[in-house]
């Protein structure tokens, strides 16, 4: 095996010189280039999704006032602001907005290229914000980008099992991405049924007023599903077949475990989404009635199918971030991960249990209340592996020798947010409490702590592996400032959403001031919006750092963090075929501060006298 691997690596090296620009940078079959392609595509989409969030926040803080810098958006979506006042779409609205903080600021800023948002467009904006963030940012970044980049490098393989399939996976995601962005520009605008696209609103174009845009949404996700499926097959095959000699299952880094489990979830969950999307498309375009009661269909069937996919999807999103966090916490605590096997098994438990909790999204949907109790109990059970992971992370920190690098700070930020997101999930799990907080900002707070909290895992991964991927270091000081601002404003933006939810503030509303019982809390909306803007602005520091470091960052060594896993034994950045010689693995990935060696790290592939014998078995 090792000889074959070395030969393959050698071949790949030879091939390298023959590849032209197109085969190297565009239609590349190298997992590292494909990983980078996913990475850049998702960062671009992160900007789109983030700007959409800013529009949502503006509308909620200062409803129906002119949104600045949006006058370029055409008429059915945004209406030009009144000549003499920025506020004025609705008569007497000024009275409502004025008592709240920031009204004058909003009015003066709104006069800068401001336009009024149409309520139907608002629905498109939040629908697309969620769709883009989930399917076109977090998934391609963590699974597409880091999954691709890390799996072969961390298991000691030269490339993926199916390099051409891998290339196709990226190039299938491209048309899906173009289509979802293009859907903004078709007549009627983009899909406006929420990212969950509940039928019957989504199943009949006359009900939502969005025709082509929603069709494009469905088709885009169908295509993206094919892309993810190709990736999943590739990841699973690679992890099963291509581990380097000595890389047993329980010597794999937890990030590989997380990506492996994620790939299995993708493989099993996507067909369900594909089936549901197909039915929805038929209902929309061919007059079938899968979800339309008029023709004998059942609207709640969509919810069952969607959430049967949707809950595993949540773990598809969060598991890789958990894996990344485990690796980074161990590296920078200079300490083996606490309870390695418990960490691996708890991920498998999460993956398994994620199939039997979907009904907790549907407690008040009209599903039989007896079923609600069953789903509540399974949901309570799934909280246990999450608790295990959290406490094991704490155990990893205990007794460590902690280095506060930027990746470490972001990993700690992820843990801190995950704790809040996990605990707030318990409220929703309890059926009676969920009656009140379902579809309020409490759930919005909860899933942003979990899903938007993944951005901390994403940044942790990017700061950590940037030297390997691009061969240069990122600026540490800027990284730390970026972390501090992101952490503070993230919590200022999302924590008060719990308060709004407790107050009964519905999600997906365009103007909270239409409800008397929400008036007292409106200033929280203003506070959240201000924090969200600051959160958005803080990311400029990241972009400056990212681009500057790409061009002029300090050259990175092979192993700048003194880490143990195999990717750090390859050059930075690794060439074609990754390793000069196929590594042999002698031990687990987290042998930090081992008494066997002087240094406080012990790479997986370093041969030590007596250990080498047991390892080669």
């Amino acid at each position: 095996m090792s000889e074959a691997g070395a030969a393959a690596a050698h071949d790949a090296h030879a091939e390298h010189h023959e590849l032209g620009f197109i085969r190297t940078y565009i239609f590349s079959t190298d997992h590292k280039m494909i990983g980078r392609q996913f990475l850049f595509a998702s960062i671009l989409m992160l900007i789109v999704g983030g700007l959409l969030a800013m529009m949502i926040r503006w509308e909620l803080a200062w409803p129906e006032t002119a949104v600045p810098f949006t006058s370029w958006i055409s008429e059915p979506f945004m209406y030009p602001a009144d000549e003499d006042s920025a506020v004025g779409a609705v008569e007497g609205l000024s009275e409502y907005v004025d008592p709240y903080p920031g009204a004058n600021f909003a009015k003066s800023l709104g006069s800068v290229g401001g336009a009024h948002m149409d309520p139907a467009f608002y629905n498109s904006v939040f629908t697309m914000h969620a769709t883009i963030m989930i399917f076109f940012v977090v998934m391609p970044f963590m699974v597409g980008g880091f999954g691709n980049y890390l799996i072969p490098l961390m298991i000691g393989a030269g490339d993926m099992a199916f390099p051409v399939l891998n290339m196709l996976s990226f190039w299938t995601a491209v048309p899906a991405t173009i289509m979802i962005v293009y859907s903004f520009f078709v007549e009627g605008g983009a899909a406006a049924g929420g990212w969950t696209m509940y039928a019957t609103l989504s199943a009949d174009p006359t009900l939502s007023g969005v025709d082509t845009g929603a069709d494009l949404w469905v088709i885009s996700l169908l295509i993206l599903g094919v892309s993810s499926l190709m990736g999943a097959i590739n990841y699973i095959t690679t992890v099963v077949n291509m581990r380097a000699p000595g890389m047993t299952w329980f010597r794999m880094p937890l990030v590989i475990w997380s990506l492996f489990v994620t790939a299995i979830l993708l493989l099993l969950a996507l067909p369900v989404l594909t089936a549901a999307l197909g039915m929805l498309l038929f209902d929309r375009t061919m007059g079938t009635s899968f979800f339309m009661p008029g023709g004998g269909g059942e609207p709640i069937l969509w919810q069952h199918l969607f959430w049967f996919f949707g809950h595993p999807e949540v773990y598809i999103l969060v598991l890789p971030a958990m894996g990344v966090t485990s690796d980074i916490l161990s590296t920078f605590s200079r300490k083996p991960i606490f309870g390695y096997k418990a960490m691996a098994f708890s991920m498998m438990a999460l993956a398994f249990l994620s199939w039997i909790v979907w009904g907790h999204h549907m407690f008040v949907s009209g599903m039989n209340p007896v079923l609600g109790t069953a789903f509540m109990l399974t949901t309570m059970v799934i909280a246990v592996p999450s608790a295990i992971k959290t406490f094991n992370w704490l155990g990893t920190l205990w007794g460590g020798n902690i280095r506060f690098t930027s990746p470490m700070l972001f990993a700690l930020g992820f843990v801190s947010n995950f704790v809040i997101g996990g605990l707030s999930g318990i409220y929703m799990a309890s059926t009676p409490v969920d009656i009140f907080i379902h579809d309020t900002y409490f759930i919005v707070a909860h899933f942003h702590y979990v899903v938007a909290g993944i951005i901390f895992g994403m940044f942790a991964a990017l700061y950590y592996w940037f030297p390997k991927i691009f061969g240069r270091m990122m600026n540490e000081t800027l990284g730390k400032v970026h972390f501090a601002l992101t952490y503070i404003f993230f919590n200022c933006a999302f924590f008060p959403m719990h308060f709004l939810g407790v107050g009964g503030h519905m999600r997906r509303i365009y103007n909270p001031l239409q409800y008397e019982f929400l008036h007292d809390m409106q200033w929280w909306n203003v506070f959240i919006t201000m924090s969200a803007f600051c959160l958005g602005l803080s990311q400029l520091i990241f972009f400056v750092n990212f681009i500057w470091s790409l061009i002029a960052g300090k050259k990175a060594d092979k192993n700048p963090w003194e880490a143990n896993t195999l990717e750090w034994t390859a050059p930075s950045p690794p060439g074609h075929g990754n390793f000069e010689t196929t590594p042999t693995v002698y031990r687990g990935p987290y042998e930090y501060s081992s008494p066997l060696v002087q240094e406080d790290w012990l790479p997986q592939d370093r041969k030590l006298g007596p250990e080498a014998v047991t390892a080669s078995q």
Binding site: G294, P336, G400, D439, L500
Partner: protein
């Protein structure tokens, strides 16, 4: 955090809120524990080049502890929730007040069965967004939809139930304090979703009788079938006072704020609430 919870005016809301608080204390304790440990560890075990990290791969006892303790807490929470859920959802009390609320883009269509107690008969009364119910009496509500999924949300009653096209979902609620409460739609239902709301008028017995008698004057009811007449009599028995002022007041102003609606009828509401609990 919990001070933002809207006032509860339902008989079962108290137990939902108690559970809410219970979870709040548990999660707050867990949050403080984890965060405090994290901060202590980060400070205590910050980088020190004269010291080596503890070389350990875990501790089975500890890991068992933090598997079993959360599991027990979650099972306890599950059991506590189960009881209240059944109380609220499954044990529908006997009542003679029935209404049908049908969501349509973007209004609540409220249908009152009238004296005969049957829907879709000649004496039905249908109106958009005005839900009149007597204080302190269970109300059985049949929820439906004409187009998309809506969700009837009455924050002050801790009530939320999606409405589905193609079927009627039976639910119940009870308000123990007279007043006017907002009843928004909580499920995205299209471009007019924001602003789709009804008003729940919880009427004192007098107001309710007045409203009822205006709709169905007693003279007419005598001609109806006996069971329907009984229903009406029962409602009237809780204290009818026909007075032109009270008759027109609740309908004229749909945007009555809570305080306005509460103040004049507070005494009556309290006594009604007491009656209901007895």
């Amino acid at each position: 955090m919990m001070q933002w919870l809207p006032e509860d005016v339902s008989p079962y809301g108290g137990s939902i809120d108690a559970l809410f608080y219970f979870i709040y204390y548990i999660t707050a304790a867990a949050f403080i524990l984890v965060t405090a440990l994290m901060i202590i560890f980060l400070y205590q075990y910050r980088r020190n080049d004269n010291r080596r990290a503890v070389y350990t791969h875990g501790h089975s006892g500890l890991e068992l502890l933090w598997t079993i303790v959360p599991a027990l807490v979650f099972i306890g929470l599950g059991l506590a929730s189960k009881g209240i859920w059944e109380e609220v959802k499954l044990n529908v009390p006997e009542t003679d007040v029935e209404i049908r609320i049908t969501g349509k883009q973007f209004n609540w269509e409220v249908l009152y069965p009238g004296p005969d107690g049957e829907f879709e008969t000649a004496d039905d009364y249908q109106v958009d967004n005005d839900i009149h119910v007597p204080v302190g009496k269970p109300v059985r509500v049949f929820l439906g939809s004409k187009d998309v999924i809506h969700s009837l949300f009455m924050p002050h009653l801790r009530f939320k139930q999606d409405t589905l096209p193609g079927r009627f979902i039976e639910a119940w609620f009870q308000a123990d304090k007279a007043g006017a409460y907002e009843a928004p739609c909580a499920e995205l239902c299209g471009f007019g979703h924001s602003g789709m709301k009804g008003t729940l008028y919880v009427d004192t017995p007098e107001d309710y009788a007045a409203w009822y008698n205006k709709r169905w004057p007693p003279a007419e009811t005598n001609g109806g079938d006996s069971s329907a007449a009984e229903t009406t009599e029962e409602i009237l028995a809780s204290g009818a006072a026909m007075d032109d002022e009270t008759m027109s007041e609740p309908e004229a102003e749909p945007a009555v704020t809570e305080e306005e609606a509460e103040s004049p009828t507070e005494g009556a509401a309290d006594s009604a609430a007491q009656e209901a609990t007895e």
